[in-house]
Symmetry: C2
Subunit: 254 residues, 2 copies
């Protein structure tokens, strides 16, 4: 969706290493926004983005207009069920339908052999992986780790909206996730208790309104009670008027 | 779905003329049946079908098992909205979701340049055309006219289930459609009146239970009141325990 940062830079870098021709799609997709003001406010910085891509050896930028992607009222939609019931899916009805639909369109237009997605959007990544498997699409999905600021905040185009105080508070998402990761590595197995500990950490930042903090299985994103293998800890929170998400895959001690 | 007849033969013949390599997919798709007994009863004649294809110069038959097409519980579905509200969509909830989903999977697997569909399944054809446009799929959809028996009955794998008396009664679908086509060509413009005339024709065959007879626009399949251009007359009826469908595109006098 543009407003490129070092998280995107890493996707481009990996693609540049792996493949002959690197295409970056830049499209702020209207059908995945629940709130018109979020769509209107989403940063659009095509000129800077183009320079960013240029500097990293991108071969082609595909930056269609909304009218080119939706020349008539879209009537066909892709629904990935089950995986979209919880986490962000619960709070953003229709969001993943919009994401899956536009990603399928972009894949059909660009027809890449490999497509690179960031792990920061863990539910999106799981949804796209499942869509590709279920629809037997001829593309490999490559997941790229989240790039973080020095205090751990995951890079996001939305971070630019935070004022200084909000920016400081925003570090609580990563702090809570890291706490849970450490506890799981240390042998903790009860998800309910870990979730309460994470909520306590959030409670220390009254400027941050937690939307969810969940511990789920990494494949189908269903809630886990007893941790006996890798789990995904995922959270969404409002910092002022900005909604941020983050996640960590937690591995129990071997 | 196999049980190949001369309607399919015409699809193959056109593809054979147009293209270098002809692939026939034969797959009775479980997720498009509303009634388990219809799925169970659907004819499966792979050996005869293979000979049929051989005789017509088909290069490849793709006949996967249900386990190959659905190796795990399918969670991704394609919904074509609006066009599926009426006609068969009203009576077969989930049917077109199952059709769109399997056709997209088959297209992704086979990756044809052109795909051939029969006009007999008019709503299916419209749904697939719209899906291809909406999802920007790299394939051309080719529509092939319905092949009919001497009394006008549209060829269908389901016709084999009719007994002699049912087979005779089944001609009423085409008779009613032809009546409407003639009246439109003759200048009739009121769809409600034409629909009543068609219903009167059906009433003469008490062994046939009409499900619907509708006059709709051929693109989005929405009901038409005043006929001023091409319209689709479409019908579904039960003849004994067998559900038959048929349609004609009606052109007003120039």
């Amino acid at each position: 969706m543009g407003a490129l940062h070092e998280g995107h830079g890493r996707l481009i870098g990996e693609a540049r290493r792996d493949t002959e021709c690197v295409v970056v799609s830049i499209f702020v997709n209207p059908i995945q926004f629940n709130q018109p003001e979020d769509y209107a406010l989403y940063p659009r910085t095509l000129e800077t983005d183009a320079a960013f891509c240029d500097a990293r050896g991108v071969d082609l930028i595909f930056a269609p207009s909304a009218e080119e992607m939706y020349p008539w009222a879209q009537t066909t939609f892709v629904d990935v069920t089950l995986l979209t019931d919880g986490l962000c899916g619960k709070y953003r009805p229709g969001h993943f339908r919009g994401v899956a639909t536009v990603v399928l369109k972009l894949l059909n237009i660009v027809q890449p052999h490999r497509a690179y997605f960031g792990e920061k959007d863990a539910q999106q990544l799981a949804v796209i992986r499942r869509m590709v498997q279920d629809l037997m699409l001829p593309v490999s999905i490559v997941a790229i780790p989240t790039v973080r600021e020095p205090d751990g905040l995951a890079m996001s185009s939305r971070n630019a909206r935070l004022n200084a105080e909000e920016r400081r508070s925003a570090a609580v998402l990563y702090a809570a996730l890291r706490h849970v990761e450490d506890r799981v590595r240390g042998g903790a197995t009860g998800a309910a208790g870990l979730r309460r500990e994470a909520l306590d950490i959030f409670a220390r930042e009254p400027g941050v309104r937690l939307e969810y903090f969940e511990i789920v299985d990494p494949g189908e994103l269903q809630p886990v009670q007893q941790i006996s293998g890798p789990v995904l800890a995922a959270t969404a929170a409002w910092v002022g008027g900005t909604r941020l998400i983050d996640n960590i895959t937690c591995l129990p001690a071997a």
